[in-house]
Each structure stands twice: as structure tokens, then as C-alpha cells.
């Protein structure tokens, strides 16, 4: 069995099993900003393997990654609903649906479609996603009532601050990358040492 698939399955099971599941779901901030992104990350990891076996029809129909990213937006929006989070806590079957849908309907299509998206499309997604995370955080802080039946008011506020913190962090990172640029990823390959150091007999041949 492929080691990567094994690790993904093991991580998925570890997230599902107690105490990790109970621990992450007992706090609103941990539920939203740790468990959900980790489940999406498992789907992303899965995409690197699945990509090799992706049917040609799907790869072509996923033009510029648009259908895939639309699916990601719907799947993540669904699990942002306070009612959906409540249902996941109250009903293990709904929680199972979350554990299946976030990797397969959010992480996996994100991983497959992202590389098909043009740079401007990716920038558009980032530019929408980051302020939205901050806005949801601000809404949690401003809400006069509890939004989730299973979380306390102070947990809602700390989830709000965590989301704002993530938005600020991502926004800063994105700003730096967009306006200053990131270090070239292949800098170390610019002058491969084995070519620089060709033994004399082969030099110039």
C-alpha cells in the first residue's frame, strides 16, 4: 500500500477517534480553525496521489479549475454554518458526513483544481477568502447572542478573535508575496553543482 495513502488514512482515523475528536470539537475555535482545516488538508494530500489517476474527462471539464473551486466554496460554506457545526456535535452521523465531505468535497477538488487555475483566478480566491475570514470573525464578536447551541459565549468570542488573527496573518503574508515577492523556489537549482563540477574529460564535449 502506498505510504502516503496509509498516512492520510491513519491521520483521518486519528482525527475521528477520541480523544482528539472530542478535544477539537469541545472548543469552537479549535473546531473551526484546526479540525476543519486539517480535514481539508487531508484532501489536499490525497489530491497529489489522485491526480495521477484522474479521468481525462474530469480534468478537461474542470476548465480553469472553475467547477472544482465552486465545489470547494459550497462545501466550506456549508460547514461554516453554526447550525451545521451544532448538528455535527449532536449527531455522530452528521459528524461522519463532515469527516467525509471536507476531505473529498473541499480538500481534494481544491488540490486538483488549484493548479488548473490561472494566477489571476487564484489571486481572486485569496483576495475574497482572507477578508471573509476576518469578517466572519468580526461577526462572531459582534453577535449579541450565541450562534451555536453547544458553545459558550466566551468560546464564540475567542473563535472570532482567532479568525481575525488568521485573516491578519494570511493578509500580511499575501501582501508580502504579492508586492515584495517570495524567494525563488528553485534558487538552489540555478547552477547545479554537478554541472559546475564536470570532470575535465567531459568538459566541453
Amino acid at each position: 500500500m502506498n505510504l502516503r495513502l496509509f498516512l492520510i488514512a491513519a491521520s483521518w482515523l486519528a482525527l475521528w477517534a477520541d480523544p482528539l475528536r472530542g478535544l477539537l470539537e469541545s472548543d469552537m475555535a479549535a473546531h473551526m480553525t484546526l479540525q476543519v482545516p486539517l480535514l481539508i488538508a487531508l484532501g489536499l494530500a490525497l489530491a497529489t496521489t489522485i491526480r495521477l489517476y484522474e479521468p481525462r474527462f474530469f480534468a478537461e471539464a474542470d476548465w480553469l479549475g472553475i467547477p472544482g473551486i465552486v465545489l470547494v466554496i459550497f462545501a466550506t460554506s456549508f460547514w461554516m454554518l453554526p447550525r451545521a457545526l451544532d448538528s455535527a456535535i449532536a449527531d455522530p452521523w452528521i459528524d461522519a458526513a463532515k469527516f467525509i465531505s471536507l476531505p473529498l468535497l473541499a480538500g481534494l477538488p481544491l488540490g486538483l483544481s488549484w493548479s488548473r487555475m490561472p494566477a489571476l483566478g487564484r489571486a481572486f480566491i485569496w483576495a475574497n477568502f482572507i477578508p471573509k475570514v476576518g469578517a466572519i470573525g468580526a461577526l462572531y464578536l459582534a453577535a449579541p447572542t450565541r450562534l451555536c447551541a453547544y458553545y459558550r459565549f466566551d468560546q464564540q468570542a475567542s473563535a472570532g478573535w482567532t479568525l481575525i488573527g488568521i485573516a491578519v496573518l494570511l493578509g500580511t503574508l499575501w501582501f508580502v508575496i504579492a508586492f515584495i515577492g517570495r524567494p525563488p523556489r528553485n534558487a538552489h537549482k540555478a547552477a547545479p553543482p554537478h554541472i559546475m563540477a564536470l570532470p575535465p574529460p567531459y568538459a566541453g564535449s
Partner: protein, 201 residues
């Protein structure tokens, strides 16, 4: 544009919209409490006929109220905040009814903390708001299994507050003359509460 692109986008968008619409009851609610409120407004829900005991130690059943509308709230007597506010609202509702010589609406406060809220504690809690039976009963189910059934049917979620107390829905429940949960009311002006109760079947 490749073949298959438009149908794929359409399927994804339609399925996604349908899922979101279902979970938000047609884009009207995002919270569990909101969804429950809307569902009850559409279809009043039957309630289990459990036995309770009031602050004077008298046992009674929910079905004893058949033919009479009641306003119900849930509390625990150590609650420092919202239970007191709802208690004061009920006290005002009772005063308003007294002023009008009206006894058509019953008041019922149910504790979800039977371990602490024994008869004495309920009596003390009732005295804070001059609650007298049978007009305003401060009660607890006689059976702990009944408490869970009662909370479930009213849609009350009780969670620990991390400080030894509880956090629970802040709402007033209107039970109609047929013994059904007819409305879940947001806390509001006691005059309005009374008007809502009188408007129920």
C-alpha cells in the same frame, strides 16, 4: 470552452445551492435555535406528558394544563443572569394578568438542575418573584429520564459554563390549549409576551 464544463458547473452549483438551502431552511436561518423556532411556528410539536412536582411538593402532569395556554421557561436556581431576567418577566406577566383580573394563562418554570433544585431551592427561587401555585409553578420532573425527554421536545440545549453552572437557550416557550409547543419566543416586553400567549389557539 471544453465539453462537459458547463454541465459540471451547473451540477455542482445546483447541488451546493440545494444543500445550503436545506441547511438554512431556504436561506432564512443559520442557527439551530432559529431553525427550531421556524419549524415550531409552521407545525406545533406534541410534548411528552411527564409528571412534575412544584415548589409546594404537589405532583402534576403537563396534560393537567390541557385547555389552558401556558408560558414555560427553563432555569436553574443558581443561575445569576438570564434565569433571573426571565423570572422577572414572568413576574411582570403575572402582575399584568392580575391587573386585568385575568387568569387564562398559566406560568411554568422548569428546572433542569434537579440535583440542586430541591423543593426548598425551588420555593426560595419562586419567593424571589412572588410565584404562587397553581398560577405559577416552579417545577422539576419527578423522573430524570423525563427531564431529557422534556428538554429534547422543547429544543433546550444545556451545556456546562465551565464555572460549575450552565448555559442554556434564552427563550420563552408557549404551549397552546391542545398541549402542543406552539411558539418559541425571544425574550421580550412582558406585555408583548402576554399578547402572544393570548393570541395562541
Amino acid at each position: 470552452m471544453p465539453r462537459g464544463f458547463l454541465p459540471l458547473v451547473a451540477i455542482v452549483a445546483a447541488a451546493g445551492t440545494a444543500a445550503l438551502a436545506r441547511e438554512t431552511d431556504g436561506f432564512r436561518v443559520i442557527t439551530t435555535a432559529g431553525a427550531r423556532q421556524l419549524a415550531i411556528e409552521r407545525t406545533p410539536a406534541p410534548l411528552p406528558d411527564v409528571q412534575l412536582v412544584d415548589q409546594d411538593g404537589h405532583a402534576f402532569r403537563l396534560s393537567d394544563y390541557l385547555g389552558k395556554r401556558i408560558l414555560v421557561d427553563f432555569f436553574y436556581s443558581r443561575c445569576p443572569t438570564i434565569c433571573t431576567a426571565r423570572g422577572e418577566d414572568f413576574q411582570r406577566v403575572r402582575e399584568l394578568m392580575d391587573d386585568g383580573g385575568d387568569a387564562s394563562i398559566g406560568l411554568l418554570s422548569i428546572s433542569f438542575d434537579p440535583g440542586n433544585d430541591d423543593r426548598e431551592a425551588r420555593k426560595l427561587y419562586g419567593d424571589r418573584f412572588s410565584a404562587k401555585t397553581p398560577r405559577w409553578r416552579i417545577a422539576v420532573p419527578t423522573d430524570s429520564g423525563d427531564l431529557a425527554a422534556l428538554l429534547k421536545s422543547f429544543g433546550v440545549v444545556v451545556i456546562p459554563d465551565g464555572l460549575g453552572g450552565f448555559i442554556h437557550n434564552d427563550a420563552v416557550y408557549l404551549v397552546d390549549a391542545y398541549g402542543r409547543l406552539a411558539r418559541i419566543l425571544d425574550p421580550q416586553d412582558p406585555k408583548q409576551l402576554l399578547a402572544e400567549a393570548k393570541g395562541a389557539p
